[in-house]
């Protein structure tokens, strides 16, 4: 970037739109498909205007049949196209688990390198707000368990655009996990072309007393908690992992070596989760640097409640993060 540009504040959803549109302009193999993405401009208006610009051959409305259209897209990716599959919610991807996990993630391996699968699956992940337990899935822990795929979780509009462009350009299947709660948030997105490489965590806040590691929406809870804890004299460092696969464990380790305390905040359930994986790696790499075991904050170990109050209490909220940090730093 040669010139520092003025702030250009746009919504998270528009940043996603720009990423897709720009890549589609550059590369005519890239196309978008999913439920309501074309005529309705997207269930969440992420693909607004894209049908008009790119036409029905590249912005395709599909039936309500995730297994069918995900499988079709994977076939097209194997034959040279670069599809972007929008799941209205990642909760609905469960019916497409076989194609996305068994085909997309394993194709390069099982074909002995003959077929790759450059595909992006994207959509809303996590509790959207009173959508109840079947529509509030956090799929990251379950899917990140599978080798052969990449997974990115953007925190703000800037990262949404930069990470999605990297995802579209990647030669591997990328699971791109957005949050319905963040789509309307706004942030600075520069005019200029940029991408954000995978596997590079970002320190969202520097601190000396405790490292808080998270991804996506819960980072907002983490920063809220860090502000609260700062009033008590606990100085937190908040690390945004940005991508789960690849995982930038080095940056996390470097931070924990500095603070000697760590809390991992993961919106999926705690059992066999991204949070437990990171905690395990921190324990392994930072054993002699830890002043306490790694603490974890997750959604509670129950199906997501429908009730507003219960849902708020269920999430890895600021109150739970504060409690975990206090314990991790012996300030409880």
């Amino acid at each position: 970037m040669a010139v520092a540009t003025a702030e250009r504040i746009i919504e998270f959803r528009d940043a996603l739109n720009e990423a897709m549109s720009e890549e589609m302009r550059k590369d005519n193999r890239v196309y978008l498909l999913g439920e309501e993405v074309a005529e309705y401009n997207g269930a969440y208006k992420v693909s607004k205007g894209m049908l008009d610009e790119f036409g029905p051959r590249r912005v395709i409305d599909t039936p309500i049949s995730e297994s069918g259209f995900a499988g079709m897209a994977i076939g097209s990716a194997m034959r040279g196209l670069r599809p972007i599959v929008e799941f209205m919610s990642w909760s609905f991807s469960l019916v497409a688990a076989d194609p996305i996990l068994n085909n997309a993630a394993k194709m390069l391996y099982m074909s002995g390198g003959q077929f790759g699968c450059p595909i992006v699956f994207r959509g809303n992940d996590g509790a959207g707000g009173q959508l109840a337990s079947t529509h509030s899935w956090c799929v990251e822990s379950m899917y990140a368990n599978v080798p052969g795929l990449k997974m990115a979780i953007p925190y703000d509009a800037y990262d949404a655009k930069g990470l999605l462009k990297t995802a579209i350009q990647d030669e591997n299947p990328v699971f791109f996990l957005e949050s319905e709660r963040l789509l309307s948030t706004t942030g600075h997105v520069p005019e200029e072309e940029y991408t954000i490489p995978f596997g590079q965590a970002l320190t969202r806040r520097s601190g000396t007393d405790c490292t808080i590691i998270s991804f996506g929406r819960p980072l907002h809870f983490c920063l809220e908690a860090a502000d609260e804890l700062a009033k008590e004299g606990i100085d937190c460092e908040v690390i945004d992992g940005r991508t789960i696969r690849p995982l930038d464990i080095d940056s996390m380790v470097a931070s924990v070596k500095k603070t000697n305390a760590c809390v991992v905040v993961d919106q999926s359930w705690s059992f066999a989760s991204v949070g437990s994986e990171i905690a395990s790696q921190i324990h392994a790499y930072c054993f002699d640097d830890l002043d306490n075991h790694v603490f974890r904050v997750h959604s509670d170990d129950v199906p997501t409640p429908y009730s507003y109050n219960l849902e708020q209490a269920y999430l890895p909220n600021s109150r739970k993060i504060c409690e975990a940090v206090r314990q991790a730093t012996y300030n409880a």
Binding site: N260, D288, D289, L290, D291, N292, Y330
Partner: protein, 429 residues
């Protein structure tokens, strides 16, 4: 599975402990923190507390019987009625003599039972004995904060000590670079920056590596303490002048240091602890009295210092000591000494008097048990026979290994030395 309670190591030197009193009997319920027994160590009587909840299942050591550190002294059943006989490691009912194999880690039984990994690492880095740290974490876990607070407290003390003792340097023998290291760094930091004042590093010479290793080892493993005494040097200096005047034609030139070598050697032969080494489980008293003299090496030979040996110094005349000393100093500075010429010292003298140093303390040169740091004989107002007069006084400071030599013994040695120095005629016979 019963919990085994073993004789804890309650002090650094403790090898054996004796139960003076059991506060519990078999079948008693105990909670973590309850008093189990009073234990007599080599230093004091200390309390043994329980670290667990349970029931006293057996008592393996009777009151008054000394047992080795690590010996099973009792077992604790975690649940009531647990039968010790069913436990895989069936505990002996009589005193079990554990071989001298590695003693149990102190944390198993002493105060700092739980330590966070980073606290353990920091304690190691700062040389803090974890057994002495009271943990503030859950279940008394020692955490980072506990160590950092200790370090901060220690640093404050050290800083205070440094400011009050800025005139006193602590070096082994005549090693000026060691003592200068700190102040020089500060001066550089304050000086205006110019290209030729930039920081730079120089690799350690072999000698400096050895000095660094040996002195750190000495300072870290030997419990040093110092005792200082002033000496009236007028009689000795006067006699030295007389002798040197008389013997100039035969090439004899006695230095003050030559007199001190003989004084120290004679005092060693009457105070055998000063001719001894700490041997782990014994004290080794040496036969020959070999006095080491620290010799600073010139910059062009890479600096540093060596300790030359005057063997059987208590058997040698001043003239012989002087000749040997002069020969060794010259050889050390010009071509270097052989192992034979440097080895087997049993005591060392480090003299910075010729540089005008009033007094300083030195680091013991292992395996010696003592080193004498000698300052200059300085003209100063002194009281002689109730009258104020001008006299020459010399201050000398002994650094001692407390494992071998206690304070009173050090005082006795200095008293002997004082008698010899202040009545130098006895050195002639």
């Amino acid at each position: 599975m019963p919990l085994e309670i073993t004789m804890p190591r309650l002090s650094d030197t403790m090898e054996v402990g004796t139960i003076l009193h059991w506060h519990v009997k078999v079948g008693d319920e105990v909670s973590s923190g309850d008093l189990l027994a009073d234990i007599e160590t080599d230093k004091a009587t200390m309390e043994l507390q329980s670290f667990d909840d349970g029931f006293v299942e057996s008592i393996a050591v009777e009151v008054g019987v000394p047992v080795d550190v690590g010996t099973l002294i009792a077992t604790l059943a975690v649940e009531e009625g647990e039968d010790i006989a069913t436990a895989p490691a069936s505990a002996p009912t009589t005193v079990e003599k554990t071989p001298v194999k590695p003693p149990p880690p102190p944390r198993a039984t002493s105060g700092g039972a739980r330590v966070s990994p980073v606290a353990r690492r920091l304690a190691e880095e700062h040389g803090i004995d974890l057994a002495s740290v009271q943990g503030s974490g859950p279940s008394g876990r020692v955490i980072k904060r506990d160590i950092l607070q200790l370090v901060a407290a220690t640093t404050e003390t050290t800083a205070a000590a440094q400011t009050t003792q800025s005139c006193t340097t602590e070096v082994v023998a005549t090693s000026a670079p060691l003592s200068a290291a700190q102040p020089v760094k500060q001066v550089q930091a304050l000086a205006p920056t110019s290209p030729w004042q930039q920081d730079h590093t120089e690799p350690l010479s072999n000698m400096r590596q050895i000095i660094a290793k040996r002195l750190v080892e000495s300072k870290q493993t030997i419990p040093h303490y110092q005792v200082t005494m002033d000496f009236d040097m007028d009689p000795l200096i006067e006699m030295r002048k007389t002798l040197n005047d008389q013997l100039a034609n035969v090439g004899v030139k006695l230095s003050v240091n030559d007199f001190l070598v003989r004084c120290c050697a004679l005092a060693m032969s009457t105070n055998p602890a000063f001719n001894a080494s700490f041997g782990g489980d014994c004290i080794l008293y040496h036969g020959p009295v070999n006095v080491g003299i620290a010799i600073a090496l010139p910059e062009e030979r890479g600096g540093g210092l060596v300790v030359a040996t005057i063997r059987n110094a208590d058997q040698k005349s001043l003239r012989t000591i002087s000749q040997e000393s002069a020969y060794l100093s010259k050889k050390a500075r010009e071509t270097g000494l052989s192992l034979e010429e440097m080895g087997d010292t049993t005591f060392t003298i480090s003299n910075l008097g010729m540089f005008g140093v009033d007094n300083f303390t030195a680091i013991i040169n292992p395996p010696n048990s003592a080193i004498l740091a000698v300052g200059a004989a300085i003209e100063k107002p002194v009281v002689r026979g109730g009258e104020l007069a001008v006299g020459r006084e010399m201050s000398a400071t002994l650094s001692l290994d407390h494992r071998v030599i206690d304070g009173a013994m050090a005082a006795m040695y200095l008293k002997t030395l004082k008698e010899l120095i202040e009545n130098p005629a006895s050195l002639l016979v």
